[in-house]
């Protein structure tokens, strides 16, 4: 387990400081913003899929381990609709998410 959780936060990544190497990260998607570009499903299929019904994003996981952070950050920054956000996975992450940009 690399300590990727401590690399510089991006605009899309909530502060995960204090949760050390074992910090898991919550994955939030905003289907209202999503335009179905498929950029996430294409580059990071492990974490994202597209719905057969509306073409919009369907996350394959609600959270992931810190080793996934670089891939998830890339997915968030590539998303042309800015519909992907990463939040701390501490049990409060599901209380709504913040587009933070």
């Amino acid at each position: 387990m690399a300590d990727t959780a401590h690399t510089a936060d991006t605009a899309h990544t909530a502060d995960t400081a204090g949760t050390a190497d074992t910090a898991r990260v919550g994955i939030r998607v905003d289907r209202d913003s999503c335009v179905g570009s498929g950029a996430c499903a294409l580059f990071e299929p492990e974490f994202f899929d597209q719905s057969e019904d509306d073409g919009l994003v369907v996350p394959r996981a609600r959270e992931a381990g810190p080793e996934a952070l670089p891939a998830l950050r890339r997915a968030a920054s590539r998303c042309p609709a800015r519909a992907i956000a990463l939040v701390p996975s501490d049990g409060q992450g599901s209380a709504g998410w913040d587009r933070s940009d």
């Binding site: 179905g36 570009s37 299929p45 597209q50 057969e52 590539r78 042309p80």
Partner: protein
Amino acid sequence: MTQSFELPVDKRRDVLDPVPELLELNARAPLFRPPGGMPHWIVTDREVVRQILADAERFSSMPPPEPDGRKPDPHPGSLLQTDGAEHSRLRRLVAPMFTVRQMKAMEPMMARIVEQRLEVLERAGRPADLMRHFARPVSGLILAELIGLPRDDLSELSRLGDHRASGHSPRRHPATSEYVGHFRKLAAAQRRDPGEGLAGMLIREHGDAVSDEEVAGICESVANGSIENTAETIGLGVLALLCHPDQLALLRERPALMDRAVEELLRYVSVVASVSPRTALVDVEIGGELIKAGEVVSCSVFAANRCPYGGDDGTADRLDIAREPGNHLALGFGVHFCLGAALARLQLRIALTGLLERFPGLRLGAGVEELRFRSLAPQFGVETLPVLW
């Protein structure tokens, strides 16, 4: 290359590269007012382009008034020229047809068409024009299958499309109304007997909730956004590889780099120099300037992809097919991000893979200085690309 003396700086290229004036302007400020007329602003800075394209609330995609002040004709079903809820409604009608999964399901069809055109190219004999025998037919035939367009229509559309690419005011030329009329006829025919393609699917799934005019407009949008963009990207992508033998050799040696190569070529050639204009709905302060309500902004995707920018690693102007696929803007950004992104990526991958496998000795059949470029077309491209093998 052919260059009109009045061609604006963001439309000019030195073969595949930004002209020095564009680099200078970009180094001076993130956006600038070009002399006279429209647009009022040209934006070259990558971050400012991203911010504007992401800000559909303050920047409208509705077409600006004509230079004589006339309001442009309404264009139902146009994905690029709508805003807000109407745009979302249209986009959601078609997005399910363009998912990564749907495109993968069409891979065998695309591979068959690529294979057929490779045969034609080879039979054409050396040197053969890659654009005429391969790039244009490949993207046209795939699009025809996708929409459900008869092949006869395709040759007619490509004739009309050539007129449109000649630089005439796109909405005034007679070929334009014929072109639009063609899609209207397609929609009416599909209404009577819905086929398997996009037009038939829209009618079968949405019935009267989508009008014939909208079906026509959507199909036209998809055709406009696909046929020439993909053809020109294949052509310039091949040219870029042939002009960078080290990169071509690397790709031949490591075919697994193809997906990265496709992203890099999309970025590097950026056939759409500037995305369709945005109009500020309110005063917006951005990049140290004040864009006033009503002013028209042209975002130069080509400059944003190829000029140095803050936070850049200094390699934006270099072709590097092994580069980590980044946040290039060749397919746009924001709610109008290319609907056919997965289609374009897959077509490019299949076409380039097929071409490199079929012709291990592929090389240019003319000097770069002899090539003629399409500087006035909505998509930058090369008229003909003679190749040898």
